[in-house]
């Protein structure tokens, strides 16, 4: 049983469609849970259920140790930022932010000082007198944030709160949220589709798909040891390469054989895992495929592959090649020597590899 939030066997249907299936997850005080998953997988719905805004079809929700399954939203002591903002159209920005405090009977002075704080953090001081209709998308989103941040609830729920902000502001806001989390020990459930946000903020990540939880773990676990190909594919950008390969036991480890176009198969030795055998999927992140020349010292296993596409992107260059009959992306430095059509000597870092069954996509090792 978890401290702040504890969800047990939660189901949610809209009519006949099951949106959430058997959700079990909990967080302790001060934890930062990030929900990720493809668009439409039920993240917002889950937040709504936690907040009590949607009736649930089965299961139970406890907040701060109390059964809240049938408690009205206002008594759940949560703050929430809506994906759709949901600003009060007739109130000024300032009023939008202070409304909750006012309802709770917090005194004017506190209201004013909190408002001032939040407005500064969110850089919306000049906008306080405006109506939501007079704001830009990002400004609206910040006001929506402000509404939550002035509160001091048991639990914060954030639904993609930074999606309409520019990179700089986003980083700043991220920092604010992190600070809020650390300084106040606030507990949070946070939906985002931004990998960096997920990775940098979360103490725990939940990956969902089609209303079912795929994996729960720390960012590091999720990133390095995805529970299945879905998670592997979903987390990280560009995604983890899932390269069809054949494994045969080989002494203490396994030998991994990967088909190459117009050359004989690449043979790599996986020293850590002995049990691999038959058709497998080798999961390797783009950054774990190096340009052999730049990293001569590291324990990489090399192989030349013909480069299909070279796509420079600021600090990195993405290089696409065909391996095991699939396109494989590697992330190389901006100064890579890779040229389209030429063969590049790659270095594979199998110490970071994952292995999956091709059929179910479950993790093997």
């Amino acid at each position: 049983m978890s401290g702040i939030l504890d969800i047990k066997g939660l189901y949610k249907n809209y009519g006949a469609t099951e949106i959430l299936k058997d959700i079990n997850v909990g967080i302790d005080k001060g934890e930062f849970l990030v929900l990720v998953g493809p668009s439409g997988c039920g993240k917002s719905t889950l937040l709504n259920c936690i907040a009590g805004l949607e009736p649930i079809s089965g299961g139970a929700i406890r907040i701060a140790g109390q059964d809240m399954t049938h408690v009205s939203p206002k008594d759940r002591n949560i703050a929430m930022v809506f994906q759709s903002y949901a600003l009060y159209p007739t109130m000024s920005v300032a009023k939008n932010i202070t409304f909750g405090m006012q309802v709770r009977g917090i005194d004017k002075a506190t209201q004013a000082s909190k408002l001032a704080d939040v407005a500064r953090q969110l850089q919306i001081e000049p906008l306080l007198k405006r109506r939501p209709g007079q704001l830009s998308g990002g400004q609206r989103q910040r006001v929506a944030m402000g509404r939550a941040l002035v509160r001091d609830p048991a639990l914060f729920l954030f639904d993609e709160p930074l999606s309409n902000l520019d990179a700089k502001l986003r980083v700043e806001m991220r920092t604010e949220i992190k600070r809020l989390h650390q300084d106040l020990g606030a507990s949070m459930v946070y939906v985002t589709h931004d990998q960096i946000e997920a990775m940098t903020l979360a103490t725990k990540i939940v990956v969902m798909k089609g209303g079912i939880i795929q994996q729960i773990g720390t960012p590091h676990e999720i990133y390095t040891r995805p529970a299945n190909t879905f998670v592997a594919d979903f987390m990280g950008s560009p995604a983890m390469n899932l390269i069809p390969a054949r494994a045969t036991p080989n002494g203490q480890g396994s030998m991994i054989e990967i088909a190459r176009d117009g050359a004989e198969p690449l043979r790599l030795i996986e020293a850590r895992h002995a049990g691999l055998e038959g058709d497998i999927l080798l999961g390797l992140r783009p950054e774990d495929m190096h340009e052999a020349a730049t990293r001569p010292g590291t324990p990489l296993q090399g192989g030349g592959v013909r480069v299909d596409v070279v796509e420079p992107a600021g600090a990195d260059t993405y290089v696409v090649a065909r391996l095991g009959g699939k396109e494989v992306t590697s992330r190389l430095g901006a100064d890579t020597k890779a040229r389209t059509g030429e063969v590049l000597e790659f270095g594979f870092d199998l110490s970071k590899a994952s292995y999956f069954t091709p059929e179910t996509g479950e993790r093997l090792a």
Binding site: P73, K74, I78, S84, Y85, A86, L87, P89, T90, R147
Partner: protein
């Protein structure tokens, strides 16, 4: 290559101006149609009885006289008293203002419940309340008279207010409910999270959004109540009769001499408060109250 209808701008600009003119023309034509009876009434009210008797009914007055207006306001006989509409005016005000307010507030709350706080059976209840709009008032007259007698408010202004509220609430609920269903549910959600309860959300979020529909409702209710005759005549007694009864007494005597000029003036005078409401309330037909509330 590009989309099928590609514009010819120069022409479209001219067209726009032409359309605009057409629009204003059309609006004016309708305005004339609407104004026609008022024109007849106004001109008649400014004529002398002599001129009405001898001249054409639909013509400008040969000589303008305001006597009829004066008589209608303070001199026309409505029974043994010949004090015009004046004494009845306040009865109507005292009746209409609270009745409109109460029924509007009730309707707003009901509509708010039905549109945003759906519970099982809410729609059925709404339908039942709504159906009440259709009950012929002639039908309710006698049982209601009995009820008012039992409640001991027969013949009083509170009794009349009661009746008007009962039979007005169906409409006000209808108006508000149908306006509120178009307001995104996210607003209620956000306010619930903010800790606001039922009434607070209503007061702080929904009422400010409701200006146009409040206007419509007030216009409807005020007109209905102010102009009501049947309830007014049945459930009042000497001293509480509303202005419509007085107007009717001036206009509708069967065998007395008909003074059309006074009739028309009286009708216009009786309508002035309603007109005032239209003009004042009309300002609140504001566009885009929900602007910027949610996306999607």
């Amino acid at each position: 290559m590009t989309d099928a209808t590609y514009p010819a701008q120069k022409q479209s600009r001219a067209l726009q101006i032409a359309l605009r003119w057409g629009l204003y023309l059309m609006l004016s034509v309708f305005a004339v149609w609407y104004l026609m009876p008022l024109f007849v009434m106004l001109t008649t009210s400014l004529k002398s009885l002599e001129e009405i008797r001898t001249g054409s009914l639909i013509a400008l007055p040969r000589e303008i006289t305001f006597d009829a207006w004066r008589t209608a306001w303070s001199g026309a006989c409505t029974g043994v008293k010949c004090e015009g509409l004046q004494p009845y005016f306040w009865n109507s005000v005292m009746l209409a203002v609270p009745a409109v307010m109460i029924s509007t507030i009730l309707g707003a709350l009901n509509g708010y419940v039905v549109a945003q706080w759906q519970f099982r059976g809410a729609n059925l209840i709404f339908a039942l309340i709504l159906f009440g709009c259709f009950i012929p008032f002639q039908v309710v007259l006698l049982p209601m008279a009995r009820t008012l007698g039992l409640l001991d408010i027969a013949g009083t202004i509170p009794g009349l207010i009661f009746v008007h509220v009962i039979y007005g609430v169906g409409f006000t609920t209808l108006f508000f409910r149908n306006y509120y269903v178009t307001i995104p549910a996210e607003l209620t959600k956000a306010a619930k999270i903010d800790g606001a309860g039922f009434f607070r959300i209503f007061w702080s979020i929904f009422l400010p959004l409701s200006l146009p529909i409040i206007v419509v409702t007030v216009i409807w209710q005020f007109t209905q109540i102010w102009n009501d005759f049947l309830f007014g005549v049945s459930f009042s007694q000497a001293g509480t009769q509303p202005i419509t009864v007085a107007l009717n007494n001036i206009v509708n005597s069967t065998t007395g001499v008909k003074e059309y000029n006074v009739d028309m003036a009286a009708a216009i005078i009786a309508a002035l408060p309603t007109l005032l409401v239209y003009v004042v309330a009309g300002k609140y037909f504001i566009r885009g109250l929900t602007a910027g509330s949610v996306k999607g």
